[in-house]
C-alpha cells in the first residue's frame, strides 16, 4: 500500500524522478505526453526565433530576395532610418510620454491602492469595478470616444493629450499591482509607529515609503513597458510631433510612399532592442509569475 502510494507520488512529479539521495533528476525516457508538450513548446520557440531573426537579419542585409540569407551586410539602413523617420525626435517624445505617464500614474494611483488595501467600505466593489473597466474594455473601444473628447478640447495631437490617454489604463494597472503589495504590509507596523509618537507625515516618509519602494519600482517599470508598447491609444490621439516609437513604426509601414523594408526593419530592431533592455531591467525587479499568486513550494 505505502509502496504504491510512494510510486504514485513519484509519478506526480512528471518527468522528474528521484534517486536514492532524493535529488531530482531528468528521466531520460520521457512519456509521449512529455515529448508532445516539449515539442509544441520547441515549435513555438523556433517560430518565434524565426520571426525575430528575419527582421534583425533583414535590417542588416544589403539585399534579400529569394535566398536563405541576405546577400552582403551593411549598417547603413540604421543611419538611413534614423534620418528618414526623424528618430531622434521620436525617441525624445517617447521618453517624455512614458516617463510622464509613469510618474503621474504612480502619484495618483498609489494613495488609491492604499485606501483599497486598508479599508473595506460600502461601495468598495463599485470602486473596484470602476478601476477594472479600463483594463477590460479594449483600448480601441474607449480610445475613439476619448480621442473625440480630446479633439473637442484641442488636446489631441499634443504630448499632453497622449499622456492623458495613456493614463487611463495605467492608473488601474498601478492600483491592481500595488493593492496586494500594500495588503501584505502589516498595519501593525504603522500603528506601532503612531504609538511611538510619529505623525502622519513621519509614518508616510519614514515607515511606509521605504516599505513601498520595491512595489513602486515594479509597478513603475511595468507601466513603462506597457506605455512604451501601447499602440492603439497613442495611435488614436497622437499628432506628427507626439508619436511614440511604435506609432512611428506603424505609420512608416502603412503610410503612402515607397520605403525600403530594410529601413523599417532597422527601426523595428531599435524598438525591440529598447524593449529588451527594459525587459531585462523589469526581470531584475519583478518575477512575472508572482504578480498574481505567490508560489507555494
Amino acid at each position: 500500500m505505502s509502496g504504491q502510494a510512494l510510486r504514485a507520488v513519484g509519478q506526480g512529479h512528471g518527468q522528474l524522478g528521484h534517486d536514492e539521495l532524493g535529488q531530482p533528476r531528468m528521466r531520460l525516457a520521457m512519456r509521449p505526453g512529455a515529448w508532445l508538450t516539449w515539442g509544441v513548446l520547441a515549435f513555438f520557440f523556433i517560430n518565434l526565433l524565426g520571426v525575430i531573426a528575419t527582421v534583425v537579419l533583414d535590417s542588416a542585409g544589403r539585399q534579400w530576395f529569394n535566398t536563405w540569407l541576405p546577400t552582403g551586410w551593411t549598417g547603413s539602413w540604421y543611419s538611413e532610418a534614423w534620418s528618414e523617420f526623424n528618430l531622434g525626435q521620436v525617441l525624445i517624445a517617447t521618453l517624455e510620454i512614458t516617463l510622464a505617464v509613469v510618474a503621474v500614474s504612480l502619484v495618483i494611483a498609489t494613495p488609491a491602492s492604499y485606501a483599497l488595501a486598508r479599508r473595506s467600505f460600502p461601495g468598495k466593489k463599485a470602486l473596484s469595478i470602476l478601476f477594472a473597466l479600463p483594463i477590460l474594455v479594449p483600448p480601441i473601444a474607449y480610445g475613439i470616444p476619448l480621442a473625440t473628447v480630446l479633439y473637442k478640447f484641442h488636446l489631441a495631437g499634443s504630448l499632453t493629450g497622449v499622456i492623458l490617454a495613456n493614463l487611463v489604463p495605467s492608473i488601474p494597472f498601478v492600483v491592481f499591482t500595488m493593492t496586494p503589495f500594500i495588503e501584505q504590509i502589516d498595519p501593525k507596523i504603522e500603528q506601532a509607529a503612531r504609538v511611538c509618537g510619529a505623525g502622519t507625515m513621519t509614518v508616510l516618509t519614514r515607515v511606509l515609503a521605504p516599505l513601498l519602494v520595491p512595489g513602486l519600482l515594479a509597478a513603475g517599470i511595468l507601466v513603462l513597458v506597457r506605455t512604451f508598447g501601447m499602440f492603439e491609444l497613442t495611435f488614436l490621439t497622437s499628432g506628427p510631433t507626439s508619436q511614440t516609437l511604435i506609432v512611428a513604426l506603424f505609420s512608416a509601414v502603412n503610410s503612402a510612399g515607397i520605403r525600403t523594408s530594410q529601413s523599417i526593419d532597422a527601426m523595428a530592431v531599435l524598438y525591440t532592442a529598447t524593449m529588451a533592455v527594459l525587459l531585462v531591467i523589469t526581470l531584475r525587479f519583478v518575477n512575472p509569475t508572482q504578480l498574481i499568486a505567490r508560489t507555494s513550494d
Binding site: V9, G12, M26, V55, F65, R118, P134, L136, I140, A293
Partner: protein, 310 residues
C-alpha cells in the same frame, strides 16, 4: 482614529451635538469610511474625467448621427452587410485564438509545475513576445511566413509542399500573430494560477490511489477552473481588440475586416464621429456580454481556498 482623537479635545458647551458628531464619524469609521478614503479621490476623479466622461460623451454622440434619427448610426451599422459581417469576423478570430492560447497553456504549464534547471530562463524567454509589440510581430510574420520566407523554404526543403503556402495577408496571418503575442501571456497567467494550487492536494489524491488523469480531472482542474476563466477573459479582450495586426498581416478589406477596423475607419478616416462612437459602443457591448457570460459561469464554480495564495 478620528473619533478617539476628537473625544477628549471636544469643548463641553453643548454635549449633545458633540456626542452626535463624534457618534456619526465613529459610526462611519466602524463601516470603514474615514479620511483614508480621501486618498482614493484623485484616482477616481482621473478615471471619471478620462474614462467615464469620454465614454458617456461618445454614447450620447452615437445617438446624434448626421442623419437617420436617434438610432441612425446603429441602424447604419447593422444594415450594412460589410459592417455587420465584421462582428462575425472578430469572433471568428478571437474565439479560436483564445482557445488555442489557453488550451495549449494548460498541459504545458501542468507539466512544468515543478522546479527544473532553466525554468527561470524559459519564463524569461516567454516574456519576449509580450514586449515585441504588435508591429514588430506583424513585420516579422510578413517576412518569416511570407512566400519567400524561411517557413515556406523549410516546407519546400522537407518536401511538404511544392508551391509556397499563403500564410500572410489573410486570416491565418492574423491568427498566427494573435497566437505568437497571446500564448506567452496566457501561459504566464495559467502558470502562476497553477503554482498557487498547493501540491499537497495532489499528493493527497495520489496517496488515495488516483492516477494522473483523475488527479488532474477531479483535483487540479476544478481548482484551476476560475483561473482558466479569468485567463480566457483577459486573452479574449486582447484578441477581440485586434487592430494593428489585422491591418498589417491580414486582409483588412476582406476576411479580417474586424470591428475595430470598422470603428477606426468610421471615426478617423471618414471623420464620422457619431458612427465611430456607435461602432465602439457595439464593440464594448459585445465584449462585456462575453465577459459577463464567462464570469457568470465562473461564479458557479468552486471559489474557495486553493491551498496556496491563488
Amino acid at each position: 482614529m478620528t473619533a478617539v482623537a476628537a473625544g477628549p479635545q471636544a469643548p463641553a458647551p453643548d454635549p449633545g451635538t458633540v456626542r452626535g458628531r463624534v457618534a456619526l464619524t465613529h459610526q462611519l469609521a466602524e463601516r470603514g469610511v474615514d479620511r483614508v478614503l480621501l486618498l482614493a479621490v484623485p484616482g477616481v476623479l482621473a478615471l471619471v474625467a478620462l474614462f467615464c466622461y469620454p465614454f458617456l460623451y461618445g454614447l450620447q454622440l452615437s445617438f446624434q448621427p448626421a442623419h437617420g434619427g436617434v438610432l441612425g448610426a446603429y441602424k447604419a451599422f447593422f444594415s450594412d452587410p460589410f459592417a455587420r459581417k465584421s462582428i462575425w469576423q472578430t469572433f471568428a478570430l478571437a474565439i479560436p485564438a483564445s482557445l488555442i492560447n489557453v488550451g495549449a497553456s494548460v498541459p504545458i504549464s501542468y507539466r512544468m509545475r515543478r522546479e527544473f534547471r532553466g525554468k527561470r530562463l524559459l519564463l524569461a524567454v516567454l516574456v519576449v513576445p509580450i514586449t515585441l509589440g504588435t508591429v514588430l510581430t506583424a513585420e516579422g510574420i510578413l517576412e518569416f511566413y511570407g512566400p519567400a520566407g524561411w517557413f515556406n523554404r523549410t516546407l519546400h526543403l522537407l518536401g511538404l509542399s511544392s508551391s509556397p503556402v499563403k500564410l500572410t495577408m489573410n486570416y491565418t496571418g492574423v491568427l498566427l500573430s494573435l497566437v505568437i503575442s497571446g500564448f506567452p501571456f496566457a501561459y504566464l497567467l495559467i502558470h502562476s494560477y497553477l503554482s498557487g494550487i498547493h501540491p499537497s492536494m495532489e499528493k493527497a489524491a495520489a496517496t488515495l490511489g488516483a492516477d494522473w488523469w483523475r488527479r488532474f480531472r477531479y483535483v487540479t482542474l476544478p481548482l484551476l477552473a476560475p483561473g482558466l476563466m479569468t485567463t480566457f477573459c483577459l486573452t479574449f479582450v486582447m484578441t477581440f481588440a485586434v487592430f494593428p495586426s489585422a491591418l498589417m498581416v491580414g486582409d483588412p478589406d476582406g476576411s479580417t475586416h474586424v470591428i475595430s477596423i470598422e470603428a477606426y475607419e468610421a471615426a478617423l478616416q471618414r471623420f464620422d464621429y457619431a458612427q465611430g462612437c456607435a461602432d465602439a459602443m457595439i464593440m464594448t457591448a459585445l465584449m462585456l456580454a462575453v465577459i459577463v457570460a464567462v464570469t457568470a459561469l465562473r461564479s458557479r464554480l468552486y471559489t474557495g481556498a486553493t491551498g496556496g495564495k491563488g
